[in-house]
Each structure stands twice: as C-alpha cells, then as structure tokens.
Symmetry: C2
Amino acid sequence: MDADKQPLRIGLVGFGCVGQGFYDILQQQPNLGLRVTRIAVKNPTKPRTLPAERFSYHADELLADPELDLLVEVIDDPAEAFRLVSTALRQGRRVVTANKAMLARHLPELVQLQATFGGTLLYEAAVCGSIPVIRTLDAYFSHEPLRSVSGIFNGSSNYVLTRMSEEGSDYAPALAEAQALGFAETDPALDMGAFDPRSKAVILAAHAYGVFLNTEEVLNLGIEGIGAADIAYAAALGQKIKVVAALERLTNGRVTALVTPQLVGPESPLYAVEREFNGVVLEAEYAGTQFLQGRGAGGHPTGSAVLADVLAVQRGTHYGYAKQDTAPEAQLLEELEVEVYLRHADEGVLREVLTWLELPADAIQHDGYGPYATGVVALQQLFAWRKELRQNGVFVARQGAVRLTAPVVQEAASAWA
Amino acid sequence: MDADKQPLRIGLVGFGCVGQGFYDILQQQPNLGLRVTRIAVKNPTKPRTLPAERFSYHADELLADPELDLLVEVIDDPAEAFRLVSTALRQGRRVVTANKAMLARHLPELVQLQATFGGTLLYEAAVCGSIPVIRTLDAYFSHEPLRSVSGIFNGSSNYVLTRMSEEGSDYAPALAEAQALGFAETDPALDMGAFDPRSKAVILAAHAYGVFLNTEEVLNLGIEGIGAADIAYAAALGQKIKVVAALERLTNGRVTALVTPQLVGPESPLYAVEREFNGVVLEAEYAGTQFLQGRGAGGHPTGSAVLADVLAVQRGTHYGYAKQDTAPEAQLLEELEVEVYLRHADEGVLREVLTWLELPADAIQHDGYGPYATGVVALQQLFAWRKELRQNGVFVARQGAVRLTAPVVQEAASAWA
C-alpha cells in the first residue's frame, strides 16, 4: 500500500468461525491497508481469543460510527443480519456479508437498497466458501446463456457422505465428526436437511439467470434418513450419493431449482468432490462445461473469500445482476417430474410413501438391505410430502435429470406446430 | 442495454478460429450493445464466411480509426500482434488480446505502456481458453499467498494424450485428429513441444506471484517422443501422463516455473482432465486447494472469453498486478532437481542421454516395451540438453515435485542457525 494512504477502517460484526478466520488472515498480512477498527459480538460472557476491550456488544454502535469505511457482517442470525445490513445499505454504506439464509430471503430488497442509496453489498463467502462462483457468474458469465448450474454447496453434509462411503461410518458419528471439525452450521438441520444449500442455490439463481426465487418454494430433500443401505445401493451401480443443488433452464426456456440427494456417477466432476469440499458445474452455451472446486467451509477459506470481497469493494466492484432484465420465469413444480430412488427399512412405511407419491405398489424391490423403490414422480408430490418424508426418515435420492411432464412437452410442441 | 446508449464499436484484427468464434457469439446476441464495426485480416485471397466488403486488409487502418472504442487482436503472428497492441496502447486505447506468445514475451513492457498512456489490456482468452483463471488470480487472489499454480494449459497435446491413452492410438494419428478438430496451433511444435503452455505459465506468473519471467529461461519439454510404451508405463503405476505447467513457491521463498510431461495419479484433479479440456490447481495459503476446469480450445469457448473481456473493459476493469511490489525472485535452475522417467527405444541413445544428465549407467531398466531409466537429475542439465533430447526423440517425464538441491537446503538452514 502507499505509505500516505489511510488504511480502510473495517467494522466487523460477528466473531465466530468466519469472523475469526478473516481477522486472523488480516493479522498475518498487516500491509494490505486494511484495519479492523471495531468488532461487535452478541454474547459478552463467551470466552474470546482477543481481550475484552476489543469488543462492542452492540452492533448498532458500529452502524452509528461514521469513521467506518466498510462493514463486514458474519453473524449467525439471519433476521438480525438483515436488520444490520439493510440499515447500513440505507446509509449508503459498503457491506460484505456471508449470511446465505439472509441473502436468500431478502435478495430483491437488498438489490433495490443498493440502487436507491448507492451502497454496495458483496457476498462471495456466502456460497461455496472459497470458490469465486458468484463473481464468475455475475461478471465473467454476465452475458453467457447457461443451461445449468449444479453442484455440491454444503461441506458439512458432503463430509458426512464421504465418511459414510469411505469408512462405512454410520450417519450419527459422521455428523458428530463434521460438527467437531467446525464445518457444520449451529443448527445441523440446516446442513443435513439441505436448507443451507437451498439458500445458496437461490442466491446463485439471481446471478446465473437473473431470477429471484422464493426460497420456500424450492424443493429441498436432505440426508437425515440415509443409511449404509443407500451408500451400498449407489456403490453397486458404480455411483455415489451427493447432495446436489441444481438450477436448470428447461426446454421451454423456464428455470427450475431443486436440492436433493442424487446418484452421481464418475462421469460427473461432482463424483470426486469429497469431504468439506464444494464443487460447481456450469453448462454454458458458448464456453462449454466449466467446473470449479474448492473448500466450502472453514474459517480461513471462508475468511479468505470475505477478504477478497473487502478488496473488491475497495476497488469499486459491485455486482451487475446483468441477467435481471431478460430473466426467464421460474418453472411451476406441477409440470415437472423426476426419477427417484426411495428407501425405508419398514416396508409398511415404504408402501404408504408410494401412495403419497402416486407410485404403484409393485415399485417396491428388495436387496440385501431390505425394501426400496424406484420410479418417476411428480415434483409437486415430492414437494407436498417433503415434511412427512423427512419426519418418517424416508431417504429419497434422484436418479436423473428433472424434466417437463409429457403433456407439457406436447403442449409446447403443438404451440409450435 | 439502454436504448439511448451508443453501442461499443469494436475493431477486430484477425478472423481465424477465435475471431470467428467471438464474431459468431456477438451475432447470436445482438442486444449486448457491442458492434464489430471493422474487421482486419492479412490474406485477401483466403475464402471467408463474410462478404469481402466486411474486411480491411490493413490492420493499421483500424489503429488510425478514432471511431473505434476498443480493439480485439486475435491474430497468429506474435511480432505483428505486439506492434499492433503496443501502438494501440500508446494511443491510450482499450485492447483485448488472446496472443499468449506475444504476451509472454512482452508483458513488462505492456504493463508499463498501460501505466504510461492510460490504456487497458485484458487477455483472459490467452490462458486456458474459457477458464477465468487470469481474473481469478489477478483480482480474487490479489492478496492471497499461493504455494503453487499448476495445470494442463494446452488442449491440443492433452487431446493427443487422451486419445493415446483411451484408444491406444499412435502419436501421429492422434495429432492429426487434434489438428482436424481445430484445437491445434498452426505450428504443431508450439503445442506438442510445450512452447504454448510455457507462454501461458509465464503470463500466470505475473498475476499469481507478480513475477515477470523470461520465457526463454523456463524449461519446457514436450511429447514429440512419446509412444505406447510411456502410456503403458504410467498405466501400470495407476497413473497418466499429462503435460503439466507448474509455478511453485519453494521453501526458500523463490518461485520456479517449468512445463514438462508428468506422471499424474488419480489423487490429482488433473488426472481427470481429458481431451481439449484444461485444468488449473491453485494451492492457496488461506483458501486452500482450488481447481478450475473448462474448455481450453475451440472458437466458441475462446470467443466467449474474449467477449467476457470486452464486457469487462466496458465496465472499466483493468488488471491490478497487485503482487508486483512484493514479488519474490525467480529460482535459479542450478539449485533445483527433479526425479524423471526417460525412455528411448534404442538403448545406445538412452545410455548417452544418461551421461548428458549425469545419471549412472545402471539407471537403465527394462520392461516389455524395452529400455527406460529413472533418476534424480539437475534441472540445469535438463535445460542444457533440452534441444538434444527433443531432436533425438527421447521422452522425458517428471515423477515428482521440483525441489531445491541438498546443498542449497543446508545452506538455507545454516543461514538460519
């Protein structure tokens, strides 16, 4: 940095895994021209790695401080995060956040606030940790039509799947291990129930397609019901089970999004994405297939992404959301179907599940681990019964691409005739 | 685009594979606010896909045209490309190029010209086709210390290696196939002799480490001497042969670069990079391991990268070369060694090669395909004899990491003691 330049004064809200990772990287690189001048945390009694006088216990004090050049928000609570970030943007401030749940819920409003008040919000660390996927979609592919964006967006559930597959671990100890390593959200249901990758898919949809999806309307199925039988079933087919978030442009031009366990073969780059790593496959019209892989969790990797955003803000970067004006519509679930694999140890439960999903009773098969079923189901049914499937510990994975139902395809064809 | 905005007027110099790919993408997306108003080509008699009146046969006419907002240079000839690009930069113009040989030779001067005359030069398409590796290194990792940057940077030689490995093709027909598919440079020696990926490694070194290497001093070994025996040798070890370009920060803090065939195992993401695809592995201090993969050749993928640069120029983007001020020194070859595998069908030739490289005569072994040798050699010797190795059709691949020689490591240790 230039000796005569004032360092950029950063207000840091949150000092958990990401906040400490970011702070630590800055301490190790004192010549970047960046200084964390204030840190706000919620809990005054929690032991900290820095002396107590470094902390404020009221984030609002940072919002009221005109000396701060930039706010980094890395707290856990989406509602409080939105209050802080939206207030800062109303002040025209420059903000970096890693809060995916908050972003997924409020993205249209946050984009509007930037346009109205001239502030900037960047959030690379919110999706796929250290992988620069948001800026790649937003800037590099700003005008490249994308057929699909799919990937492993949750390091914690991927870690569990890897451990179950490699070591034959059971679900519970593998989850405990991921939590001990600090890869997991405070509430494990966010990771294991695929709520966390769903938020990330919704964020990417804004940059990949210019579409602002309603998070609650995106189907997410988790791995809470997974067992050794499912891992073995996939392995027998030469495949692995991965939680794949997928955005896809359908043949009718509309966009669909879903996050579910999926059987993935070695022909996919996602097959080799293991442990806490994340990976994203982009199918681009002109550029062809692109694949990005990197650490999806951890203090330093995510802190490094926060730092990259801080430096980008300093250079005057903001997201373009270039595809907003030509955004396709979101595809209705009613018109989509997908082939699934279902398993539950109790054949009675499984039989009931088949009636929910309108699959025939003879869809049930047996292998060395007990009963399972496969068949093509309407996405609408999976969505309608998703809570019951979760509560009953039914494991569901998709076995192929989401597609428009035959009547919709015929209708589209006759409209062209 | 805004209806009241004038389209950006582009002068396109070169209408080969990349130029046509770029032009074609623009034709398919007429609403981007970009218009190719002039095209210059060299050869007036060559058949073209556009009417003759679209072309100028004097690129200097474009340089003299004050109406052009931006120049895209995608010709084959590095000397003429440098003359055009440097002249345009002296005019303070905005330029996009894909000419890696020109860039590798003249980068310091081109950076200086931008600083002096206020122009801009972007060149994402010059390295790894469609993969946004330059902007990722330059901006996203602008302040992230990198341990290494290594990858497959040449789609043409990688295509040949894939075909030899998959189909058991011989070298010559596999090369002819790559050329027929349009993946190869006009002069196949650039691809097969690893001159092309060497240029790309030199370009990346400027962004990854702030180091401007002298291209001629970087060791490059090609695959002209490869045969079925080498593919089989690697396969027997569960590995593949890939041409890997590697930049590495050594334990003494210096940076080294080399491009050679290398035995790569399935633990590396490069193992799965096949055909014309390119891949780059970044080992970052805080972000951890990153991997990017995409099409490294072809008109549309490379044209798409050119388009991304044009749009970036329009947004005011320029490279930061942030690591220039803290750039480490380049490591002298004299102090480096590496383990290699060598093969030549004629044992007499192989024996002579061992004397060149100061390997013992008993380094020769035999397998079903004939004689080969392995051993640790000084990088300086490989560099000194590189032309003779090439001329004699000796195949050389490295089997491990480049490392400082024992005396250098001891010296460094005693300096610390």
